[in-house]
Symmetry: C2
């Protein structure tokens, strides 16, 4: 990618100095929350609150203007009323600031003329400088190593995922929800109206970093679609890009226009081109995390043949349906595997072929783990889908569920093939979900969601085998 | 329905006396668990354990045989090895027992000749008597008022839902999971191989009871499809029938054959005929409960025009997409409503048209409830979909989520139109789900699942308006 663009983005995501304009002594003002979030992250560089009305904010010396700051500034966060933005952006441009984040809303997304005019003024104020801009109408950037947060309540992680979101609150919800699945981020950008830096710039920046494991995206509009497709295509089969596209329908497009000033355009053609470029398209936040979880936790895929293991027979049948409906295959177990399963399982109320139905076998300790290991040892099995849901023996007693969870975790220690778990949701299941993800077993609430995620995971790895090894 | 069949079913679901054959002093034997579950339910009639080896079990006098029992028996639960079943069924037939449940597995579902022969022997033993049989290979019946349970851990409820399941464990999982959504059952049957009584008999029995609110079903095979369709058609638009069909795919059909000896058949034609008959078809357990929740909690539907209210703008767009993808419409809010919303909401970062985007407005107390009430007052709005997910202000701090939940509950007190909530799942959300369901607001994890459920709910009520008032 363009050298200068990369340098700007490096300074935005890994700033040595950050100015925050729009701070006040009101704890809840957006500027104050942003300053607080930098302190919470443990930001290690120079921090400059800017507001001519104060000498000091949160124990830090406060400066009257960008131009009055004592040193260079990598990142300026501007949380001031819209009419004040162009002037401050001009100050940043003149002061040699690398990047600014304009958090404020009230620009082209309002549909009003003054909003569009203000955006033109901002662009005018940047002209001739090296300043790059994130937003307006965004939450800005999160950087785990750079110690920058886009929202209160975030903290540094060891993650290697990146995210681009045209909705800031969706980005922060994803950050928190992903934690429960053992997914953590290195960098996140809430890109808002994308007046200057756009989703393609961020995608290229993330994908060119060999340490990035996966890129998640929520996008309502892809302004520079041709370039976006080219960038995605180069990562095809190498780094997964999982995209939740907003504005798929006429109603969604209208909503996107007032949310981030997205222009719409023919989504059918775009969707086809994105698929061709290897982008994984998902429908909602649940599916976004389902797919990310499979790609993160599972080893590279071998093939599409799935073995189902279940204690409730009805869910075994449901899982077999879900496997085929997601375009996957049910393995035909080898006769020797069926024989082994016959020895492990009670003779009645069970099935030793795929889907393997443990019946009440799951009640006896050790049976579930032995079945998983026997199935995994079969060369005709590529992936194992283990249904963990079981009737609790007493109202709310998670005894059997916990026992099955532990047997899955135990088997996982010896099974190298990809394995996912299905637990029907319930408030009493949170423990099982956390435990399984911590053991590297992605867990899903239904066979349908598990198989949808597996199909994407397998699709990605099939591209991986097909893609040339050089870029 | 047939008078005599109804009488038999009444005696099975509301027995005055129950015999349990196959009890032992092992606490964990299936027969003992079944006896224990009757005691746990507080069964009020005569209870006869049967086993020639004991004088007494669980403090009850134990009898050597069905024929030795001192009084009439309405229901006999047989949990004995397969070869002993035909003889016991013959005893029941001669003793004038109304119905027996054969829990034991090991019959035609094994695919082995001896299993099929045993089933033929059972039928032979019943011949010429009035005895009716549930199963074999099933868990039997749950009856809240009859104080009979099909599994340990069940208890009487005040529910008016019924369920027919060809998987016993799925029935018991549904019973427990439904509780979290405020859904409780009056009667459930796990019908197994359906050697005698089949799903159509149970469907007709449930649908002819004017107190039954809804029938849920998990079926792998509908043996008597023509009669089933006729029975369902008579309830079309009156009592919802929500069906999760197992064995939709080739792999699922094979699995169903070894689970309950289901024969398969062309599911495409059957699915079309079921839809025509007004049956609501769902794909998995999650959707089954999603739909049941909408039908149970919401008032009869007016129309398909949905207003979306959301604080995260990205989820507002996603919800607008989900509305149209589910075949629903987005309401066009009246200018006066938009004006009212403009007064309630901050000017920037929000949208006063549908989908209504509260932006950071949701942070201020009272705003969410006022927006819900303003939207509900608009005559162009039929249904309200409220997205409650919001970025938590601190890791795991549910403060804002709880506040939004309470505002939804408060608004619900004044809003008569159907309203559903969408919360992205997470272990910290269980509280919100329980609270909302207890207030009659069905809650869903994604706009997609909410809209799918709403589409079924609206479809049912549109049939209701179209159906003639007499049967």
């Amino acid at each position: 990618m363009d050298r200068r663009l990369k340098e700007s983005l490096d300074r935005i995501f890994f700033p040595r100095s950050v100015a925050v304009a729009g701070v006040s002594r009101e704890q809840d003002s957006p500027g104050s929350l942003l300053l607080r979030s930098l302190l919470d992250m443990g930001f290690e560089g120079k921090l400059y609150p800017v507001n001519p009305r104060y000498e000091e904010v949160m124990g830090l010396k406060c400066y009257p203007s960008i131009e009055s700051l004592p040193g260079d500034v990598d990142l300026a966060i501007l949380s001031v009323p819209p009419p004040a933005v162009p002037g401050l952006v001009g100050e940043c441009a003149r002061a040699g600031v690398a990047g600014c984040v304009v958090n404020t809303a009230g620009f082209s997304e309002t549909g009003r003329e003054e909003g569009k005019l203000l955006e033109a003024e901002i662009l005018g104020a940047m002209e001739g400088s090296n300043l790059r801009l994130v937003g307006p109408n965004c939450m800005g950037v999160y950087s785990s190593r750079g110690k920058v947060a886009l929202f209160a309540g975030m903290f540094p992680t060891q993650g290697r995922l990146c995210m681009i979101s045209q909705s800031g609150s969706l980005a922060s919800i994803t950050f928190l929800s992903a934690l429960e699945r053992g997914l953590t981020f290195d960098r996140i950008v809430s890109s808002g109206n994308e007046l200057d830096l756009n989703c393609t710039d961020f995608l290229e920046y993330f994908l060119e970093d060999p340490d990035v494991e996966m890129v998640l995206a929520y996008l309502e509009e892809i302004r520079d679609a041709r370039r976006f497709l080219g960038v995605a295509r180069r990562a095809r089969g190498k780094i997964p890009v999982v995209l939740m596209k907003g504005g798929r329908t006429a109603g969604g497009k209208r909503a996107a226009a007032s949310h981030t000033a997205a222009l719409g355009g023919s989504s059918e053609i775009l969707v086809g081109a994105l698929r061709q470029a290897g982008v994984i398209l998902v429908q909602d936040l649940g599916e976004l995390l389902d797919v990310a979880s499979a790609l993160h936790h599972l080893p590279p895929a071998g093939g599409r043949r799935v073995a189902v293991v279940s204690s409730p027979g009805g869910l075994a049948v449901n899982a077999a349906d879900a496997v085929e409906e997601a375009g996957l295959e049910l393995s035909s177990l080898a006769p020797s595997t069926v024989e082994t399963l016959r020895e492990i399982l009670p003779a009645e109320g069970t099935s030793p072929s795929n889907p393997v139905d443990l019946g009440f076998g799951a009640v006896r300790p050790g049976v579930y783990a032995r079945v998983l290991k026997a199935v995994a040892a079969d060369p005709s099995v590529d992936v194992i889908l283990a249904v963990g849901t079981a009737p609790a023996s007493r109202k709310g007693d998670p005894g059997l569920l916990n026992a099955i969870t532990e047997e899955m975790v135990q088997a996982k220690g010896e099974v190298v093939k990809p394995m996912v778990a299905v637990f029907f949701p319930g408030s009493f299941l949170a423990t099982q979900f956390l435990r399984l993800h911590s053991a590297g077993i992605p867990a899903y609430p239904t066979p349908t969601s598990a198989c949808r995620a597996l199909a994407h995971y397998l699709g990605f790895h099939s591209l991986r085998d097909a893609s040339p090894s050089s870029t």
